[in-house]
Symmetry: C2
Subunit: 436 residues, 2 copies
């Protein structure tokens, strides 16, 4: 039987050309996260399954996880998300960690699901959290940071918006405005979470089924008012003076001061995961052909407590590489990405040993240099450099060696100049760091 | 039941302080790999189990792998090594890839084994290969590259050596000098691979059992000659003129030309994995308390062929993070690692909003800035910066804001200066890039 060469279903091979794009996404994530003072951490990709059972819904544990038993009988899983791992790590060193702690990670995550656009079985996700801050300054910082990440990909504020709600406000609305008990509230929140995927009729009939008979008419009417609210000002007056609304308003004020003009209140935003406790937010792609929630986050103040230590106020978000890739493709923001190799050294005649020497000199100066050691014809060697999107070719032959001047060809523009090695170094360095 | 906070057995949590060290190792790997023109790739951490069964010994598949059945009944494994994946990727695009192809990756790998010093269940490993070069230039390049990686960690050539052998030479010795048949040869190679772990007596009695009775006396005597050979010159004359020896000699000549003076011939070096076909090499730690093989590689010209496509000459090696960490710890090469955060902004009085504004200005200039938004006392804020090994603290208060001059404190030396924001930017930039 011949071995298959395709990767496992729903996962990806990253050939160098694909990896450049992933590296570009990661680099923007890392640059902005560190710009805001976040530090990188990591955890093992295998965790005890009970870590997820304790936190997530049964659906995730039952159907969507890669779980198995190890050779010693431990029930383990490949992580479907990073939050339980980071909560575990924080809980383990609750006393030693200096707070506020700003942490980020870019884990590889796996979910057993039907692969579709924007959703594979494996993806990479920026996870970023701030631990130990009770005030809205934490949410403000994370949304500004998200905005800077979007900017780093070349996005402007017309390409996406940021939708904000509060779990506390949702709870207040469920109990006091819609007059639902806790079981009904839970059902209603689950329904709202699916609202965008349902027709208006289906949504309304499912909603009607949740209310008591005595409460149904008033409930449906009030629910319609809420779902049609386009800003907080459209909310009923009784709610407008509530503490959760005051918090959201404060957040909007600060966002505007910081020139974030694409943030909106969205009553229907609840986010599926159960652990959020206060402000939640999502970032939406506004492209007509890719209109969708891209990613989001919020405040979850009690997760660390699940490990039997004192809780820590936490705000965090996750942002996947597949989603970002779809976004930058839809909006025409894909950059031209060159090889990290600066120079491809091509030997003209039998001078390979000398070419390797020249490469050694250039490397000591910090230039990334590949030498063609295939012994093939000149034309083939040049083709390899062009196909790999290497910006420069350097030609080494007897004449060049005796003159100590070499032809450096800029491959994209097909322009060549003869120069000393020192000049080669400065030319390539200028190309790599145009701002210097 | 309370959830456990420790990571899965034999795996590691990387807290920011640990992750800095891992990032330091990765950064050196990446810098040197790209200096030689290698490009990064990646593959999924889950592969079909048959990929390993086809290539590796049964021992690995049977006992040491994390294998399980997915929900559709596929037999899959978490990768224990990267080579089968990269061979699969190369085979899949055999026709399109421009050769020679220089590829590297830093995969996370898992083996089910008893955790011990230098061997965990999971580790990260630099995998680097050159595809499409038949000549010894490929081996030369990889050994020079390995040497530059060791240098990047501050190692000198007295701290380690490079041991070199050839599978072709081993085959020749087995068949013609020791006069073993193919079954005996296989047993002898397995025995040599374990030689360093056995006492001299045990080695000799196990070796004696491999020879035929008629051949035993001569065989043992010749084997002793071989194992006591300290250089190629000690080998029997008949072997010295064989083509594999000529190849090894050529490699040594080129290594010396490139100032690699710590490479030696080692007849006993065979390396466990079955797929090597010619030159093999290993790097040994010479530290008296850590004397061991650290990592190695070699030529494997037929692996890609297992996918039913034409074979490609390949030379590669793998180098693990745990091994490197043990090496740099043993030799006192651990660097002082600071936070990627340049400045911790501390508010003196009720000026948080203004502090956030200052941070925004500095970030636009490329400075990594965290603002303490905890609302705690000054002393607590400074402590957080010190504990996180952040190099600078910047103090913002009403006086500073009106004067537009701020106190920048270098925390390791506890020296402070008052300066403009422009000066803050240049001070921190000089600190980050001392060479500019």
């Amino acid at each position: 039987m011949k071995l298959q060469t395709q990767p496992y279903k729903g996962s990806r091979d990253f050939y160098p050309i694909d990896k450049r794009l992933r590296d570009y996404i990661f680099k923007n994530w890392i640059t902005v996260a560190e710009r805001y003072g976040y530090e990188s951490y990591d955890a093992p990709i295998i965790e005890p399954t009970e870590l997820y059972r304790a936190k997530s819904g049964d659906e995730l544990v039952g159907k969507e996880m890669y779980s198995f038993t190890d050779r010693a009988g431990r029930d383990v899983s490949i992580r479907p998300e990073m939050t339980p791992s980071v909560a575990r790590m924080i809980a383990a060193r609750r006393q030693e960690i200096p707070f506020p702690a700003r942490w980020y990670s870019i884990p590889n995550l796996w979910r057993y699901q039907r692969p579709q656009r924007g959703r594979l079985r494996e993806h990479w996700q920026l996870n970023l959290d701030i631990f130990g801050v009770k005030t809205i300054d934490a949410e403000l910082e994370l949304i500004l940071l998200v905005n800077d990440i979007m900017r780093s990909f070349g996005a402007n504020q017309k390409m996406y918006d940021i939708r904000i709600n509060s779990r506390k406000l949702t709870a207040l609305i469920m109990a006091e405005y819609l007059e639902l008990d806790s079981v009904q509230s839970h059902l209603m929140i689950k329904l709202l979470d699916r609202m965008r995927k349902l027709s208006k009729d289906v949504f309304e009939s499912e909603a009607a089924a949740i209310f008591d008979e005595t409460n149904k008419k008033q409930g449906i009417s009030r629910l319609k008012k809420l779902t049609s609210a386009r800003s907080m000002g459209d909310l009923p007056e009784g709610l407008l003076s509530s503490p959760p609304i005051k918090q959201i308003q404060l957040l909007f004020t600060h966002l505007k001061e910081n020139h974030v003009n694409n943030a909106h209140f969205d009553f229907s935003l609840v986010r599926g995961l159960d652990y959020y406790t206060d402000i939640v937010f999502e970032v939406f792609d506004l492209h007509p052909e890719n209109n969708r929630s891209m990613f989001g986050g919020g405040r979850y103040d009690s997760l660390v407590g699940m490990f039997g230590v004192e809780s820590i106020p936490t705000v965090g978000f996750g942002m996947g590489d597949v989603t970002v890739l779809n976004f930058i493709e839809s909006h025409g923001l894909l950059p031209e990405l060159y090889s990290p190799t600066d120079i491809y050294v091509i030997s003209v005649g039998d001078v390979l040993r000398q070419s390797q020497g020249i490469a050694g000199i250039l490397r000591e100066e910090g230039v990334n240099v590949a030498v063609d050691i295939s012994g093939r014809k000149l034309e083939k060697q040049i083709q390899t450099a062009v196909k790999n999107n290497i910006p420069y070719a350097l030609f080494v032959g007897d004449k060049e060696l005796s003159e100590e001047r070499f032809t450096l060809k800029h491959l994209p523009s097909e322009t060549s100049h003869k120069m000393s090695l020192a000049r080669v170094v400065s030319t390539v360095s200028d190309y790599r760091n145009p701002s210097n």
